[in-house]
């Protein structure tokens, strides 16, 4: 049952998190993998989904239930999530330059559990709780402060947006049931606001263009962490949120145009970044951007969103990115032909083929979209691989993994599984061969090398336009306003004006008082006279009149 699986994964993850870091890493990783395999078997073996919900009593007169019963579509997504988590474990194990593997694997496991909880959610709070907790897990997995900072700022803001739109819906609908979104749709309050906020939230989470800085900032991390973060964590959660609340997209006229616009910008931006930026980890991040851009374009253009195909596409993208950073620069002593014909090249072709095929399958209901996406993917992947194989990247990082067969294992396994479950795709073998031929041509010719001068521009390599725009347009004015307010309101208005006036008034009274009481005889005369006058006036008013 899924419930059991979730708890097994959760507790295994927690134990792994606290396990000794530098010892028995493999043991713990295998343990985790076994737990996941058991979970997959449990999930796939379930004939009738069990109706499991845990009452999460929030307050005396309001209880929320945590539902762990995936409907069929979510079941497939759950499988996909678990598979990608297993892949993350695998690559974590391979990455010898990462010294906190147990810790990271624990976080991956708990993150997977949270993704599953989000997938199963039938109420807003379960979804929101899963999203928030997943952010904490991913935050913990980032082991550089500047990367952490960017990440948490962006995702905190995204979570707040999600919270606000769910709060509006809760406030107006009076219940937290996601299944009853149609009820909300019928009343249509603040529809544009809700949709725009939802989209911004998911854009931030998935690293869409203009909101992608957080994922660029994680480039100093090890490649296994980067891939986990880009493909198996927060961006995936963003898609889950969008998919869960997709019913809201219909309530505003701006939703689909925005989706399309941003997906296009993202794909283009990602492509340019992947081609022209030299740092391999940043290239990897831009590849992730392309992936998510294409995914959002499917949301924008396709009539339906297939979970199976999406997760296939996701796994293929993950494999590609992993392969991209793990592929070794071939020896300079080999000829071009030998460099092309070696095992790495075969693996490269397999990875690229599966990537492009899975995309085609994903977007096949819209031929135009599929073709354009295919083209972009092809050009970019070809350019990247050409750089790796032709040693054109001026700033290539040394890689950690030496044993190519360990890298080949997941690729071959996934490809076999892909072919097994999608053997119909083999019927398209002429198209596949044609595409691969075109790809190879691009690879060999590498037309983008003529734009190599762009790589030398410092701004392209090191500039961060988005952060600069945010700082200039948002942060700087806030700082200025804050300082002005402190100066004007606190100091000038309150302190110098109001408080000073009162203080001066009291000082003046005390001054008068001291002067009046300075000389005994004079003061006694004055005060006695005053007293007599008062008595006389009172008599005059009260009696004489």
């Amino acid at each position: 049952m899924l419930t059991n699986s979730i708890f097994i994964l959760l507790f295994t993850g927690i134990f792994t998190f606290f396990a000794p870091q530098k010892r028995t890493t493999s043991v713990w990783t295998y343990l985790l993998a076994l737990a996941f395999i058991y979970a997959i078997m449990a999930l796939t073996g379930q004939a009738v989904p069990s109706d499991i919900s845990i009452i999460w009593t929030a307050m005396p007169d309001f209880s929320i239930s945590i539902n762990l019963n995936p409907i069929r579509a979510a079941k497939i997504a759950a499988l996909g999530v678990m598979v990608i988590s297993i892949l993350s474990f695998y690559y974590n194990l391979l990455a010898s330059d990462d010294y906190n593997t147990n810790n990271l694997n624990g976080l991956v496991s708990i993150n997977c559990v949270l993704l599953l909880i989000a997938l199963c959610s039938t109420n807003y709070l379960q979804l929101l709780a899963a999203v928030g907790m997943a952010d904490v897990m991913v935050y913990s997995s980032i082991n550089r402060y500047d990367s952490k900072r960017q990440y948490i700022y962006s995702n905190f803001f995204a979570d707040f947006l999600l919270l606000s739109i769910l709060a509006i819906i809760l406030g107006q609908q009076g219940n937290i049931n996601i299944m009853r979104l149609e009820d909300y749709s019928s009343s249509w309050h603040h529809r544009d606001y809700i949709v725009i906020m939802l989209l911004i939230c998911t854009f931030i989470k998935s690293g869409i263009a203009l909101f992608h800085t957080a994922y660029q900032k994680i480039s100093p991390l090890t490649s296994n962490r980067i891939n986990f973060i880009i493909f198996a964590s927060t961006p995936l959660m963003g898609i889950i949120v969008l998919n869960t609340l997709h019913g809201l997209l219909n309530i505003s006229q701006y939703s689909y145009p925005l989706l399309k616009l941003f997906s296009v910008i993202t794909v283009l931006w990602g492509s340019l970044g992947a081609i022209f930026v030299s740092n391999i980890n940043r290239k990897s991040a831009y590849m992730g951007m392309i992936f998510w851009g294409l995914t959002f374009s499917c949301f924008g253009w396709l009539l339906s969103f297939s979970q199976t195909r999406f997760f296939t596409f996701l796994i293929a993208a993950f494999l590609f990115n992993s392969w991209l950073v793990f592929v070794e620069r071939p020896s300079q002593k080999l000829s071009l032909w030998h460099r092309i014909c070696n095992f790495q090249m075969i693996l490269t072709l397999l990875v690229v083929a599966s990537y492009m095929l899975s995309w085609w399958q994903f977007a096949s209901s819209n031929i135009v979209l599929a073709t354009i996406g295919e083209g972009i993917l092809g050009v970019v992947t070809a350019t990247l691989m050409a750089e790796r194989f032709n040693c054109l990247s001026p700033n290539n990082d040394r890689l950690a993994v030496k044993n190519i067969f360990l890298q080949a294992l997941p690729i071959i396994t996934i490809v076999i599984l892909f072919v097994y479950f999608n053997h119909n795709i083999l019927l398209l073998w002429p198209y596949i061969i044609a595409t691969l031929t075109i790809w190879l041509t691009c690879f060999l010719l590498n037309p983008m090398r003529y734009f190599g001068f762009v790589c030398k521009i410092n701004f392209i390599q090191n500039g961060d336009m988005v952060t600069t725009i945010y700082s200039t347009l948002f942060l700087a004015p806030l700082l200025v306003v804050g300082r002005l307010l402190r100066l004007m309101v606190d100091i000038v208005f309150l302190e110098r004006t109001v408080i000073s006036s009162i203080k001066n008034a009291i000082r003046f009274l005390i001054f008068i008082f001291r002067r009046l009481h300075a000389n005994s005889v004079l003061s006694s005369t004055i005060f006695t006279f005053l007293g007599i006058c008062i008595i006389f006036m009172a008599y005059y008013q009260g009696v004489s009149k």
């Binding site: 009274l509 005390i510 009481h517 005053l530 007293g531 008599y539």
Partner: protein, 472 residues
């Protein structure tokens, strides 16, 4: 026939006490400062007992005793006793003669006792006037030659006050041919009988009493006197006379001059407001501790005055409670001043007691308790006083006065905060002498009384009220 004068027993005892003190002073040469204290306390104690025993005995139309007068006399003796005890510590520590102080004290108690019970204007005038004049002896104690000018000034003032009161009394007698309160009231009730001379005499008498109380604008003498005299005298002048003047004022207004109170109410209100403001501002302008509390006393007297008039059950109870709270707190504060001593000198400037809390924590804690009580912060006794006052003003729909009192209280609280700051927050400059155990004991008893009174105020609020309304 002797039983007709049994009510005079307390006064007789006091008179005997004065006599014995004088005899001892003249004929006994080996007197110590404690000698006169030991004698005085006996007579005060016996007088207090006698007062309580013969609480409802009258002497014709001259002196009337009832629960009202007994209450005030008892309180007077009680606080006088405390002052006596603490003063002895001071005289012993300085090894200075104490005859003048105790003699004058007993004399004053005698005069006050007569004045409180007086049902006759002449006795009132005699009692209050003589005591006011003899205060000059107290003020003169241990005064250096160059400061005797102030003594002369006070002497002149006291004579002037006495004269004013005398004029009022004599004038009234001239037109009404009586000193008796009852007869005066009956005459004044008939409005057609009233001429300006009656009002003038009335104003002279009441004005004199108000001046003796130190009510603004007649407050000018009080702070100077209290600020410059020795500690026992300052403590005495800040506590005991206030009680007495209050009771005399109430007595005479209720039983003699009630028909004339109508127009004088305005005077009370203006004087009250002036007292409040001058008291609050004055407390902030001074650095002399006794002057600070003298001015704060002015504030409390002002509040009492505002609440007291128009005189009815409720207003009398409220103002009495407020006054009692003030006197208890003031007694406690002066007790603490006996503990603030450095190199044999009693500290009276604010700067002298910087950081004293670090060396005398219990005394300072008690000072804090008393000052917070004076502000009226619950759960201390002052809250009871504040409750009575504000309740009374609300019942009387006197919201403007209420606002004035609250605003001035904030200004006064500022002065108290300065003292608390100096005592607790400033670094200590002086080393303070060891405090006599008696001071701690009285301080402790004072605090306990305050706490008990606030925990179970039934006696104060209910039983005392029954005693107070006996004046009507």
């Amino acid at each position: 026939m002797l039983t007709d004068y049994i009510a005079l027993l307390p006064e007789i005892i006091l008179a005997i006490g004065i006599l014995i003190l004088s005899v001892v002073r003249i004929f006994r040469h080996s007197n110590t400062p404690k000698t006169f204290y030991s004698l005085s306390r006996v007579f005060i104690f016996i007088s207090a007992l006698a007062t309580a025993l013969f609480y409802n005995q009258n002497i014709g139309n001259y002196l009337h005793n009832n629960s009202f007068t007994t209450l005030f006399k008892t309180l007077m003796y009680l606080f006088a006793f405390i002052i006596c005890y603490l003063s002895a510590k001071r005289f012993v520590s300085k090894n200075m003669p104490s005859f003048a102080f105790y003699f004058t004290l007993l004399f004053n108690l005698l005069g006050f006792s007569i004045a409180i019970s007086a049902y006759n204007l002449a006795l009132l005038c005699g009692g209050l006037g003589m005591t006011f004049i003899t205060n000059v002896i107290l003020i003169k104690i241990e005064k250096p030659q160059e400061e005797r000018r102030h003594v002369l000034y006070y002497l002149a003032l006291s004579f002037a006050v006495f004269l004013t009161m005398l004029i009022g009394v004599v004038g009234l007698h001239y037109y009404l041919h009586t000193f008796n309160y009852n007869e005066i009231e009956k005459f004044l009730e008939v409005r057609s009988n009233l001429i300006w001379q009656h009002h003038f005499s009335f104003a002279c008498i009441i004005g004199s009493i108000l001046l003796m109380m130190g009510v603004a604008p007649f407050h000018f003498w009080f702070s100077n006197v209290v600020g410059k005299c020795i500690l026992p005298v300052a403590g005495y002048l800040s506590t005991v006379p206030i009680l007495v003047y209050f009771s005399c004022l109430v007595n005479i207004c209720v039983n003699a001059f009630y028909p004339l109170l109508g127009w004088f109410n305005t005077v009370f209100i203006i004087f009250g407001i002036l007292s409040i403001f001058i008291g609050a501002i004055g407390a902030n302008s001074e650095n002399n501790l006794r002057k600070i509390f003298a001015f704060s006393g002015l504030y409390y007297i002002g509040v009492m005055l505002l609440v007291l008039f128009p005189i009815n059950d409720n207003s009398l109870m409220s103002s009495f409670t407020y006054m009692l709270v003030y006197i208890v707190a003031m007694c406690g504060i002066y007790t603490i001043f006996y503990g603030y001593r450095s190199k044999g000198k009693y500290m009276f400037n604010l700067d002298d007691i910087k950081g004293v809390a670090t060396q005398r924590p219990f005394l300072s804690a008690a000072l804090l308790v008393f000052m917070i009580s004076l502000i009226g912060t619950p759960p201390l006794l002052g809250f009871l006083g504040k409750l009575s006052v504000i309740n009374s003003l609300v019942i009387g729909h006197r919201f403007v006065l209420l606002a004035v009192i609250l605003f001035s209280m904030l200004i006064l609280a500022y002065a108290y905060l300065k003292i608390i700051t100096v005592v607790y927050f400033e670094p200590r400059d002086n080393t303070f002498d060891i405090v006599d155990k008696g001071v701690y004991w009285w301080m402790f008893i004072n605090v306990v009384i305050m706490l008990l009174a606030v925990i179970n105020p039934k006696y104060l609020m209910h039983d005392v009220e029954l005693m107070l309304v006996a004046v009507f």
